[in-house]
Each structure stands twice: as structure tokens, then as C-alpha cells.
Symmetry: C2
Subunit: 118 residues, 2 copies
């Protein structure tokens, strides 16, 4: 089996990459909310830390009732227990990536994990 896999993502409302990429350390989804749209529920997590990466558009995130605006290249870490809501702005869609990893799962940090070949 090859040591890599590549997938190209289009503009679908939601693309989940865990199975497509054979990921073993993360869930990754790519999401497109239309202007005025939002995730229709508030949720938290049991074990997983989430990272939101804003790609395009504009929106608002609410964590534990605290609201803040989102713009491209904003990166947000949410702890498992954070009660989260996300919506696109009224006049712009919101394209973002959501990554889940298990809290406290990372062992080796940066250079400690790299092996230089040449």
C-alpha cells in the first residue's frame, strides 16, 4: 500500500475525509454554509478537540454563549466541553474546514518526530 493518498474537494455542502484519506489520527470535514445558513444545533464533544479553519466568506461562532466573528485564515481551537454554534453571515457564505483530534493525543512535538532522510 502506498504511503499517501490524495483527494480533491469541490464545493459540496459537506465532504468528510476520514474514510477517503484513510485517516487514523483525525477527522477532517470541508463545509460550505450558504449565506444566512448555520449548524442547526448546539453541540460539545466527549474526547475530541476541534480545530476550525476558515477558508472563505464570513460568519459567527458562539462558544459557551460568547460570540465572535470569523474571517478567512482564522483558526479556532475548541476544547471538547465547549458548547459550540456556527453560522454564516447574512450576506456571505462560509467555507471552513473542521478537524477533530483526540485531546492530549499528540506525543512527539514538531522536530522530535521528524526523521531527516537526506
Amino acid at each position: 500500500m502506498k504511503n499517501y493518498k490524495k483527494v480533491h474537494v469541490g464545493s459540496e455542502p459537506r465532504t468528510e475525509l476520514h474514510d477517503q484519506l484513510n485517516l487514523t489520527g483525525a477527522e477532517v470535514s470541508v463545509n460550505n454554509l450558504p449565506a444566512g445558513g448555520g449548524i442547526p444545533f448546539v453541540h460539545a464533544h466527549k474526547d475530541n478537540e476541534e480545530i476550525y479553519i476558515i477558508l472563505n466568506g464570513a460568519g459567527t461562532m458562539i462558544i459557551d454563549g460568547e460570540s465572535f466573528d470569523l474571517e478567512p485564515l482564522d483558526f479556532v481551537r475548541v476544547s471538547p466541553e465547549g458548547k459550540r454554534q456556527l453560522k454564516a453571515s447574512d450576506d456571505k457564505p462560509l467555507e471552513y474546514i473542521c478537524i477533530q483530534t483526540k485531546e492530549n493525543s499528540l506525543g512527539n512535538y514538531t522536530q522530535d518526530d521528524a526523521i531527516m532522510i537526506e
Copy 2:
């Protein structure tokens, strides 16, 4: 302590977000290679799976000697043992995110980890 942290990333050559976001399950870096530029070494990893997310521009990745082109919204998973090289194309820069997570560290998958609040 709040259950979230937000950081905005600019166009620096490399931004590492592990410390800035207090990440515990992943390393995340945002990288800008100029046209014609590349990572000047071949490397693999001990424990960490990598996910490359192409944001803008064009480039080439070489894994275990096999070369393929990169375009925006390509997602690539590389196993720890994959010997990897990355370069921007000669006429376009390459903006990408690199995520490291520990191989086989994810426990709960998608809905299994979510807790619905309301």
C-alpha cells in the same frame, strides 16, 4: 480558562499554531513557499501522520519518489514512513496547511463523539 482560542494567520512564510492555539492533539502549520521554492530536505516521521491541505497556488509533492501535482483544495494524507518532498511550481507560490496527528490516535469517530446540547 475559556474553552476556545482564536488566531488569525497572515502571509508569513511559516506560522506554527500548536502553542498559539494550545493544541493538544495536533500540530498545525501554515506555510507560504514562493514560486520556485521548496522544502530543502526529504523527511519522514516516527509516529505522526501528516495531512497537507493546499490553499492557494500550485506545486508538486514527491512521496517515496512518486511525484504528483497540487492545486487548491487538494488534501493529502502521508503515513509516517512516507519519504516526502514538497515544492512550489516555478511560476506560482504554494500556500498550504500541514497538520500532524499521532497515527492511530483517534478513538471516537464523528457522531460517536458528539454530545447534543439543544
